[in-house]
């Protein structure tokens, strides 16, 4: 008990010493006894990864270039175009059946509710809506193509 009180006293003193002297850490060990005090580090500037992952060797299949943060429509880089991205994983079809006309062609105007294709996942056909308004300027995925989450299906020029 006396020892513990002494410890408190000691720690108070040590903290005082640390504060007065701008220490960030004190460790004391006597045999198996151990005291460690550490003060908050001053805020550090954010580090950037820089080129770390830029030069990964090409083992296996290359990973697609990083997409924007979500599958929601996004501005394609530097082109002023919007993207219609796949919200799920599956097989993309441009038409409701092999005999049908495609939902949309290049030049077609779409609004957010326009169905632009379907994606089959686990035997279920999921209608994909444009989610944006504008004119289809590019078909980025082929009929029958397997698409991953976030993959670009169409590019759209906004109104």
């Amino acid at each position: 008990m006396a020892e513990k009180d002494a410890d408190v006293q000691k720690i108070k003193e040590l903290i005082k010493i640390m504060k007065e002297n701008d220490l960030v850490k004190i460790d004391i060990r006597h045999g198996e006894d151990y005291v460690s005090l550490q003060r908050a580090q001053p805020p550090q500037p954010p580090t950037t990864l820089g080129p770390l992952f830029a030069s990964l060797p090409g083992m296996g299949t290359p990973i697609p270039a990083p997409a924007a943060s979500g599958p929601a429509p996004a501005h394609a880089k530097g082109e002023g175009l919007l993207e219609v991205r796949s919200p799920i994983v599956g097989t993309f079809y441009v038409a409701p059946s092999p005999d049908s006309e495609p939902y949309v062609e290049i030049g077609a105007h779409v609004d957010p509710q326009t169905v632009v294709g379907i994606i089959e996942a686990m035997k279920v056909m999921n209608e994909i809506r444009a989610e944006v308004s504008g004119t289809i300027v590019e078909k980025a995925a082929a009929n029958g193509q397997a698409v991953e989450y976030g993959q670009v299906l169409f590019r759209v020029k906004p109104d």
């Binding site: 550490q38 550090q44 090409g58 994983v89 989450y149």
Partner: protein, 445 residues
């Protein structure tokens, strides 16, 4: 042999499975969330496919997306790893219905062992000791007292609907039983709207000891000895080792035989871990079966020289194990420390962030399983495990010495990790003597 496997997991276990497949000449498809897009291990897979955003529910736990990914990439089977969907019966069923192999047990065995009441029945049938207790709900305090005297104090009263310690009472004698019984019932009623309680023998300061088992479709069931996982903090294992330092040869054999009997009784195929509590008299009691590979499987691999992931794939391919029990030798001592991105000085709070300085230990007797590297960002969406450090030596003392030097070499900056906590545990004289139980960490640190 399976020729193309989808790995429905992330991090070190995804890498572990990709490595095993690579060595077996099996193609791999990795799936990843947007948060893991830059993970270097994805480059080691033959194909990698994004299945959703960082949120697990929309990616690693999303069954339709994973099944769909398996379908569009034409894999033979899915390896679920541990965690996520590994013990999800629904997922295993959907795989079966879609004609996709599942590297794990069949749906029936998974269902049987996943139900604690059924598993307990099965254990009784297989003559595997279970924690003695009431068969079901206790009618009244008189029944409780009768049973308590049959099995002997201390006992624990638990809420049937319970969890989190509520409706739970440890009782040491007849005098306090009635009050405890009523208190537990009242508490259970208040907490869960169901006052039903049951009782079990209370195992004082038990060790957590588990047996690794592997079974093939031809009914061969082999054990790979035990692991002692008593070093836990809030039921999270921190350090695992094999052999259990207090078990004598005959007891180890009895434990392993019990585990094997249970798995045989369940008509189980693939890897399983049978978990037991070991009391101070070295009597063991079955708790539950984990129907998947475990985080700590490398401990067993080090002492037996067997590759459990390869065996899982072999068995899932319909091949026999091709091993006899006597081929599986246990040599030396292995120990694993889980290196988590957690701050031991701040109640083990997760400590995500980018690793700007990383140096893993190496040299003799050291194995590191990790997906991390310099530049890796520990994402707050996922569990905080960044590396498993495993050592193998001739003796337990040598294993501790190797683990200590390896931990001291291990540099992960600037995020906080459990490295210093593991070092403190390894330095504790009770740990060094092997005198540990599941309460050791909470009592001593």
């Amino acid at each position: 042999m399976l020729s193309r496997i989808l790995v429905a997991n992330r991090g070190e276990i995804a890498l572990r499975i990709i490595r095993a497949c690579h060595e077996l000449g099996i193609e791999t498809v990795a799936v990843y969330s947007e948060a893991d897009r830059n993970a270097p291990y994805l480059r080691l897979a033959d194909e990698a496919i994004c299945i959703g955003p960082a949120d697990c529910d929309q990616s690693y736990l999303n069954i339709p997306r994973i099944i769909s990914a398996a379908e569009i990439t034409n894999v033979d089977a899915i390896h679920p790893g541990y965690g996520f969907l590994a013990e999800n019966i629904n997922f295993a069923e959907i795989c079966r219905d879609c004609g996709i192999g599942f590297v794990g047990p069949g749906v029936e065995a998974m269902r049987l062992l996943g139900d604690k009441v059924e598993a307990r029945k099965l254990a009784r049938k297989a003559k595997v000791p279970i924690v003695p207790g009431s068969e079901g709900v206790l009618a009244n305090d008189a029944e409780a007292m009768k049973l308590a005297n049959q099995i002997g104090y201390p006992i624990i009263i638990k809420a049937v609907a319970g969890g989190g310690g509520r409706g739970m009472r440890v009782v040491h004698n007849d005098i306090s039983l009635r009050a405890a019984f009523n208190a537990a019932k009242t508490e259970a009623q208040a907490a869960f709207g169901d006052g039903s309680v049951y009782l079990e023998k209370f195992i004082v300061e038990p060790r957590h000891v588990e047996v690794q088992v592997m079974a093939d479709a031809e009914g061969n069931v082999l054990h790979f000895y035990e692991r002692d996982c008593s070093i836990q903090r809030r039921h999270q294992k921190m350090i695992e080792e094999s052999p259990c330092p207090v078990l004598e040869e005959r007891d180890r054999q009895r434990l392993a035989d019990a585990a094997t009997r249970l798995i045989k009784e369940a008509n189980y195929v693939n890897a399983a871990t049978v978990e037991f509590l070991l009391d101070k008299d070295r009597k063991f009691y079955f708790i539950e079966v984990n129907t998947r590979i475990q985080v700590e499987h490398p401990v067993t691999e080090m002492v037996t020289g067997q590759d459990l992931i390869k065996l899982q794939i072999q068995v899932a391919s319909g091949q026999p194990l091709g091993l006899r029990q006597k081929d599986i030798l246990h040599q030396g001592v292995a120990m694993e420390c889980r290196i988590n991105a957690e701050d031991p000085k701040n109640n083990f709070a997760p400590c995500p962030g980018t690793i700007t300085e990383y140096r893993a230990p190496g040299g003799p007797g050291v194995r590191v399983d990790t997906h991390a590297c310099q530049g890796w960002t520990v994402d707050p969406h996922y569990d905080s495990l960044i590396a498993k450090l495993v050592v193998h030596q001739k003796t337990r003392a040598a294993a501790i010495a190797t683990m200590r030097r390896a931990l001291e070499e291990f540099t992960v900056q600037p995020i906080k990790t459990t490295i210093p906590a593991c070092l403190e545990i390894l330095s504790h004289n009770l740990f060094v003597k092997g005198k540990i139980d599941t309460g050791f960490v909470e009592r001593n640190f």
